[in-house]
């Protein structure tokens, strides 16, 4: 069991390191020159006619004159200490900026996750459980719709209807729980739709298993079959999705925060990409990677507690 834990943690550490290397490769080796970007934005787009000495000085200051491998190792060393360098746009420390923005996004993402899971499981369950076919058909049609709706458009519709139309919830802003509801819903719908589809499919497969026939032959009621056996077994494959879903939410935050004018990691990301602020982008990518890896690791650790088969396998290692 200890071996299982250790193995999983080591795997997670490896993935985070490899993700760092991957983003470094993508961001620093592709043909974009951070110094040119820096000077370009600083002088309003006119990059010609800038003193070459100034460029060289900037290169030296940020270490871009070093060989790539040296840059990589230096930055990796710094990253291990929690230092992701500074924004080439504003000069702010990347780690500090992320730390300031993170709480906003955590609150938003947390609410969105709760909504997505509630929505997903409820809709998934209700597309299988009811006896009336009309009800099941209607609920089965919902997730495909949720998946086809662009989340940015959904956010706009919500603002138009709920905020402007009915005057219920604020359209923009950071203040209070009320301002969280609409953006969280915007993020939760596509994610919840995927969850609902996977859960419904998984329930359908589970209900066709021979052991459900045996339970039925024991005289179990419909409710007992669902709550006692099917839901638990159908949840297991759905759990492996959670890591992916949290990742989806991180991406969704970029859209939701932009539309609803909230500050947070998503907004920070969009600004950083717009200005090609490479260190900032890298910081955000690493945050996203660490988040998904941690969530996946947690699921891996919880899984044996729920599934006795995995427990046996884990204990054997």
């Amino acid at each position: 069991m200890i071996w299982y834990l250790l193995q999983r943690v080591l795997q997670a550490v490896f993935v985070v390191w490899a993700a760092y290397t991957l983003t470094f490769t993508v961001l620093f080796m592709l043909p974009s020159d951070p110094v040119a970007i820096m000077l370009g934005t600083a002088s309003g787009g006119e990059t010609t006619g800038i003193d070459p000495a100034q460029i060289a000085a900037l290169r030296a200051e940020y270490g871009f004159d070093q060989p790539v491998i040296v840059q990589y190792l230096t930055m990796l060393g710094d990253a291990l200490r929690g230092d992701f360098g500074q924004s080439i746009l504003t000069g702010a420390r990347v780690a500090e900026r992320i730390a300031t923005e993170l709480p906003h996004t955590l609150a938003l993402g947390g609410l969105a996750l709760v909504l997505a899971v509630t929505l997903g499981f409820t809709v998934g369950m209700l597309s299988i459980y009811p006896r009336k076919r009309v009800v099941r058909s209607a609920l089965t049609a919902l997730p495909p719709l949720g998946i086809a709706v662009p989340s940015f458009w959904l956010g706009i519709l919500l603002i138009q209807q709920v905020s402007f139309g009915w005057g219920l919830l604020p359209a923009t802003g950071n203040e209070g729980f009320a301002s969280l509801v609409l953006p969280a819903l915007t993020m939760a719908v596509p994610t919840g739709a995927i969850l609902a589809q996977v859960f419904a499919a998984s329930l359908r497969v589970t209900l066709a298993e021979p052991y459900i026939d045996v339970v039925r032959a024991k005289g179990a009621s419909r409710a007992r079959i669902f709550y006692g056996h099917a839901i638990r077994n159908a949840t297991l494959p759905t759990m492996t999705l959670v890591g992916l879903l949290v990742g989806n939410l991180v991406g969704g935050a970029a859209i939701a925060e932009t539309i609803f004018g909230r500050s947070g990691i998503g907004r920070l990301t969009v600004q950083a990409v717009s200005n090609q602020d490479i260190p900032m982008v890298q910081g955000v990518v690493m945050l996203a990677a660490v988040t998904t890896v941690t969530v996946t690791l947690l699921v891996d650790l919880i899984y044996p507690l729920i599934d006795p088969r995995v427990r046996t396998r884990a204990a054997a290692q």
């Binding site: 662009p150 138009q160 402007f164 497969v205 991406g251 970029a254 990409v273 998904t292």
Partner: protein, 296 residues
């Protein structure tokens, strides 16, 4: 010769279906028929928009008539006009070529690269499999949208770059599905049988493994097309796609953001078109899925 007489006797088809074999949920037949017909109409229409925009558009997509700005949908302007007096319907029609192109590029990038990785990993196994799939695991750790954003940062903005970024973020999905399919097929007895018959390794791949593994990958590609439309327009909405005034579904919707309270049609109608197209594409993927599923 008793062989001849006996062979025909066991030809009765089995009457006991596997009790309760799971199959995907099916809507009532009329619903399915209607949605298939609708999806076909939508896809044909959109392809028309993309290939012959001049035939369908009613106005110039770029040059606006300032005096006709912010008009609500009506007989003259089906989707209304925007703040520069441009006809929104014509902008959506002209935007479909770029938006569909981008989605197509994204799916091509993702499916070609992903299938190749999955094929190599699944067929060669051993260290190739280990190395490739560890790389896929790493790429999966970075959420698709975030990875696309990072790639756009590095490549720069524009429709093609956005498409490539979305495509690269989708490589992992294809790699995993392809690998799983190749593994399923290579452990199938008919592949073993081909090996015993003396068929060479690469001929086994070409004759048995690929044709039997490809079905689910094609279905995935069809499904990813809808997803790619959404991702591409999201990035375009954020301002990383085509530079204005060139129309693209994402940036058309984005342009209406400042007029939500006064000119809702600027966002509502173009968005509805995106939803309808994605629904039609996904419906099409489901139609492809049925023969593939029944084969397995």
């Amino acid at each position: 010769m008793s062989k001849l007489t006996t062979a025909a006797q066991d030809a009765t088809p089995s009457a006991d279906p596997a009790p309760g074999a799971p199959r995907p949920y099916r809507f009532p037949k009329p619903v399915r028929r209607a949605s298939t017909a609708l999806a076909t109409v939508v896809l044909v229409m959109i392809l028309g928009w993309a290939f012959l925009p001049e035939m369908f558009a009613t106005h110039d997509p770029v040059a606006g008539v300032p005096t006709e700005k912010l008009q609500p949908p009506g007989e003259e302007h089906w989707f209304g006009t925007d703040n520069l007096g441009r006809d929104i319907y014509s902008r959506v029609v002209h935007g479909s070529a770029l938006s569909l192109q981008a989605a197509l590029i994204a799916v091509l990038v993702a499916s070609t690269a992903g299938s190749l990785i999955g094929l190599l990993a699944g067929y060669l196994r051993g260290w190739v499999d280990d190395v490739l799939m560890r790389m896929v695991d790493v790429a999966i750790a970075v959420p698709g949208m975030v990875l696309s954003l990072a790639i756009v940062t590095a490549l720069g903005f524009g429709t093609v770059n956005v498409a490539v970024a979305v495509g690269l973020a989708g490589v992992t999905t294809f790699a995993r599905v392809m690998r799983a399919e190749v593994l399923r097929v290579t452990t199938a007895q008919y592949v073993e049988a081909a090996v015993v018959c003396g068929v060479r390794r690469w001929a086994v791949l070409a004759r048995h493994v690929l044709p039997n593994a490809l079905g689910p990958v094609v279905v995935l590609a069809a499904l990813e097309f809808g997803t790619a439309i959404l991702s591409v327009s999201a990035l375009s909405f954020l301002g990383f796609g085509a530079a204005p005034p060139t129309p693209e579904w994402g940036n058309i919707i984005s342009e209406g953001r400042n007029y939500l309270a006064t000119a809702g049609w600027m966002t509502t109608l173009p968005g509805a078109i995106v939803v309808v197209v994605v629904l039609a594409a996904n419906r099409f993927a489901r139609i492809l899925e049925r023969p593939v599923r029944s084969e397995q």
